[in-house]
Every structure is written in structure tokens, then in C-alpha cells.
Subunit: 115 residues, 6 copies
Amino acid sequence: MAENVKKFKEEREKLNNLILSRDNLDIKRFFGLDSAVYRDGALDAKTKELLGLVASLVLRCDDCITYHIIQVKELKTTDNEFDEVMSIGLIVGGSITIPHIRRAYKLWEELKDKR
Amino acid sequence: MAENVKKFKEEREKLNNLILSRDNLDIKRFFGLDSAVYRDGALDAKTKELLGLVASLVLRCDDCITYHIIQVKELKTTDNEFDEVMSIGLIVGGSITIPHIRRAYKLWEELKDKR
Amino acid sequence: MAENVKKFKEEREKLNNLILSRDNLDIKRFFGLDSAVYRDGALDAKTKELLGLVASLVLRCDDCITYHIIQVKELKTTDNEFDEVMSIGLIVGGSITIPHIRRAYKLWEELKDKR
Amino acid sequence: MAENVKKFKEEREKLNNLILSRDNLDIKRFFGLDSAVYRDGALDAKTKELLGLVASLVLRCDDCITYHIIQVKELKTTDNEFDEVMSIGLIVGGSITIPHIRRAYKLWEELKDKR
Amino acid sequence: MAENVKKFKEEREKLNNLILSRDNLDIKRFFGLDSAVYRDGALDAKTKELLGLVASLVLRCDDCITYHIIQVKELKTTDNEFDEVMSIGLIVGGSITIPHIRRAYKLWEELKDKR
Amino acid sequence: MAENVKKFKEEREKLNNLILSRDNLDIKRFFGLDSAVYRDGALDAKTKELLGLVASLVLRCDDCITYHIIQVKELKTTDNEFDEVMSIGLIVGGSITIPHIRRAYKLWEELKDKR
């Protein structure tokens, strides 16, 4: 696993644990929902993660993009499929998504290199 | 076809024609790209329209949502698949997407009624 | 109650019922959470509705603004308190919030007239 | 003057007066600033209104777009200049700006027809 | 005071001074307004800073969130009050606010550790 | 040329090349359009880059702001013109643009120092 991906996952888990250690039931329930909506259903998990990825891209949330890229890679998304999701996000969201697309392709390459 | 869907399509086409009647090559090219990215490729057209739908939902663009709902209905999206796209958009985009989700379900019902 | 407020509430309830009639547990859970976070807690319900109002204003969601204005009015928010929430939203969100502030004040006046 | 432009201006002025009738100094000062930044300076008023137009377009604020289109028309913006501002807004903001661009061109035509 | 908070404040002040050293009256006036709206009024300063915090959270502006967290901490906001503001921001703004909520809780802990 | 500007340009070019090395015609076409809309036309290139700058500012895209600041500096934008674009962006987009305005002025100074 690429070093920065590992670091991203650790930091994410550490801070999630910090949040969940609080006595805040509403946030806990939201976190539960946030996992539930990406599970296999009428649409399979891969399609759902691609939906999460394009939504994150047009909203320009780097951490969310990173998370969903790691997921779609693990779910066997191909290069061409990845390209097409990036294209739709770019057309919908415009040139302000480009800095995020740059970082997305950088991560995509890193995930391949480390396989 | 539901009356408001017909009206939506006519108004949309009329104004698109107005824009394309201008001698504005850049906008024409963008419109071409905007069609191209949703065509069958590594991902099929239905998946791509679902990606366009969730992106439109989290960006809260009613006209875009209406357009993509009409497309995904024609591409045989089921009720459960539609529910799951709405759920992901809601979790990613939060309660400010709810007014758009209300209108989305209203349209979804209308498209069924008129079949 | 002002006629347009009554109509807003009825349309909102009708479409909420349409959504909740679906077999979509995730959306139902989100709707539950969306009610829960505004209940009296360490912060009282009025403060929480004012938080919901300013968040809706800077995100420029008219239906959300309308909903929270009705709530804060019922919770005895004064004119000066309302002014101050609008001012913060305006400074944080900039002049693009002004059309929403115009409609917010229009509704605020209507709610007073009908008392 | 086109009927809908006249109506837009009247509604806008009426609600601005409602807001300014309140004893809310901060909002008044903001409204003053909002006029000041578009006045002739190092950049001329027309360029500044075009800046306001493209900012309103990418933020997808219809009322703001309408206001700035009326201003740039009065300041002798040509068809080609208008096209180029729309193109930049479209490329920066993506396809979600298209519904606003449709309405912008519709208004642009109406302003010409009524001259 | 935590080291990163100190650094944040110094960098912020240095750049504010750079901006204010310019002969730009409009920006100066805006900065004045930006201070004015958070002062004690019909709503107390603490409530106003909480409004600023939730607005910053749903707009996903990390620097703004950091600033308002420092303010609300100094104004004696409790853990439970902080949790409730985060919950409202999360429900209104959706999962794309989570990376900001993670950093918000991290800062919140640091402000406690250093007391 | 300032060291960080040089680094920004190199990283940007490297990742653009990575993206363009992919067999993704839609993204390539978009990149072409993204260059085309800023070329001299009815509006000159400098005005167009200022439009791109204010659009990037209100959408709060730091990389986009950096890029357009470099462009407008090379196209002989004066300090006062720069101030006025920042002012319009600030008034339209509100206080959440301030962190980006701070970084914009920092870069603006650096570009002067290194001449």
C-alpha cells in the first residue's frame, strides 16, 4: 500500500475514533448511515462507490475523493471506468474540479504502482 | 408523457436552440462534450446517467435533476435503484438536498403514472 | 396563518409522506436524525433553529430558510434577533444571499401580519 | 422595458426598502458596500459589472444574474462580449450553470426586443 | 496556547495587516462589518460565534471554522454545546462536512489539552 | 520567479501531462476549451483572466486563483485593478472568501518582490 494512502487511512481512523468516543448519538447514527448507503443493494457496491466518487468530485472534497478512489480501486474499477467518472465530474462541475482531478489521477497512479 | 415533462423538454429545447443559434463556438463545443460523456463506454449509459443524477442532486440543480431523471427512467432504472441514488445524494449532500429530493420523487411518480 | 405558509406546510407534508411511503430505510433514518438534532439539549431548541436558519441561508436553500423561519417565529424569536441572524448570514455568505434575505424578510413580515 | 424586467426591478426595490426600513445598521452598510464596489475606478463600471455577472453565474444566483445583465446591457455590452462572459462562466462552473445560461440568454434577447 | 493555534493567529494577523495596508477602503469597511456582526446584541456574542461556526462548517471553510472554534472556546462553550453545533452542521451539510468535523474535533481537543 | 510559483507551475504541468497521457478524448477536449475561452476576442485576454480570477475566488478554488493571478500579473494588471477584483469577489462571496483573499495578496506581493 502506498505510504500516503496508509497515512491517510490511519489519520482518518484516529479522528473518527475521537469523534465516536464522544457521547454524541446523532453523529454516531449519521456515521452508521454513511456506511449503510454504499452497501450492495439494487445497485452493487462498486456502482455506489462510483456515485460517491462523482458526488465528492463535483463538491470538491479532497478527503472524500481519496476515500472513494481507494474503495473503487479495491472493487476492481478499470482505468477506462475511472476516466469516465472523472469526465462526467469535470463536465458537470467545470474547470474548478481540475485541481481535484489532478490529485485524483496522481493517487490513481500511486495505487497502481504499489500493487 | 406527463404534461410538465413535455413542457420542460420543449422549453429546454427552445432555449438550447437560442443559445446554439449564436455564433459561439466554445459553448457549442461544450454542449457536444456534455452529450458525449453520457454515451455507452466502459460504463453503460444508464450508470453514467445515474452518475449525472447524483452529481446534479448534491449540487442542487433542479433542471439538471429533472433532465437526468427522465433519462434514467427511459433507461429502465427501477424504483429501488432510484431510492439508492437518492439515499447516497442525501447522505453526501445533507438535509439541504431534501427539497430537491421531494421534487425528484414527485417527478418520479408522475413518470410512472403516465406510462 | 398566512395562506402561502399553509400551502408550503401542506406541500411539504404531502411530499414527505410520499418519500416515507417508500421502502427506503436509510432515508427514513436520515429524516429521524434531521428532527433529532433540533431538539432541546445543551443548547435550547430556539438556538438550534437559529443555527439551522443561518446554515440554510448561507447555503441558499429557500425551502430550508422558510421552514426554519416558521420554527424560530413559533419559538418567540424577536425582530432584533432575526435581524442579527440575517446580518451574520449576509456577511458570511456575501451578496449572493441577498435574494434569499429579501424573501426571508417578506415571509417574516407575513408571519407578523397574520398573528 | 420588458414587462418581466420592470416587475423584477419593482419587486427588488420594494423588498430592499423593507429590509432598509429595519433598524439594522450592518445590513445597511453592506448594501452601501455592494453599490460601491461596482463604481468606476481603476477598472471601469462595465468591466466591474461583467465581473459581477460571471461571479453570479458560477454561483448560480438567478436574481443576481438578472440584475447584472440589466446593468451590462445599459453599459453597452455587445453580443459578442456577452457570449464570452457566458463561455467563461460555463467552462469554470460546468454544465450545472447551463439552466442559468438558458435563462440569461432569454433575458438578453428580451432586452434587445424591447429597445 | 497550542502551538498550531498560535501560528494560525500570527499568520492570520500578518496577512490581515498586509491586506489592510493597501489603500482599499471597501475591503477595510467589510473587515469592520465582519467584526461588528459578532458583537453582543439582541443575541449574545457566544450565540453569534456559534452561528458563525455552523455557517463556516456547512460552507466547509477550514480557516473560518478554526477561527470560530477559538472564539467559542474562549466564550465558555461546553463539550455538549460543541457536539450539538457539529451535529447540526453535519445533518444540514452532509458527509462532505466530515473531514472538516474531524479537524474541528482535533482542534477542540488541542484547545482543552493546553489549558 | 518566486520559488513557490515555479513549483506550482511544475507540479501543475506534470499532473496535466499525466491526465493528457490517458486515452481520454473528452478530458482533452475540455482542456482545449479551457484554454480557448481566455484568448483575446471581443474582450481582451486581460479582462478574461480577471473574469476567471473573480469566478475562482467566489468558488474558493486556491489553485485556480493562483493560476489566474499569475496570468493577470503577466498581463500588466495594476495594484488598484487587483484590489478592485478582490473587493468584488469579497462582496459577492462574503467573509468565507477572506482566507483565499489573504493567500491571494500574499502571492501578489511575492510576484512583485521577485521582479
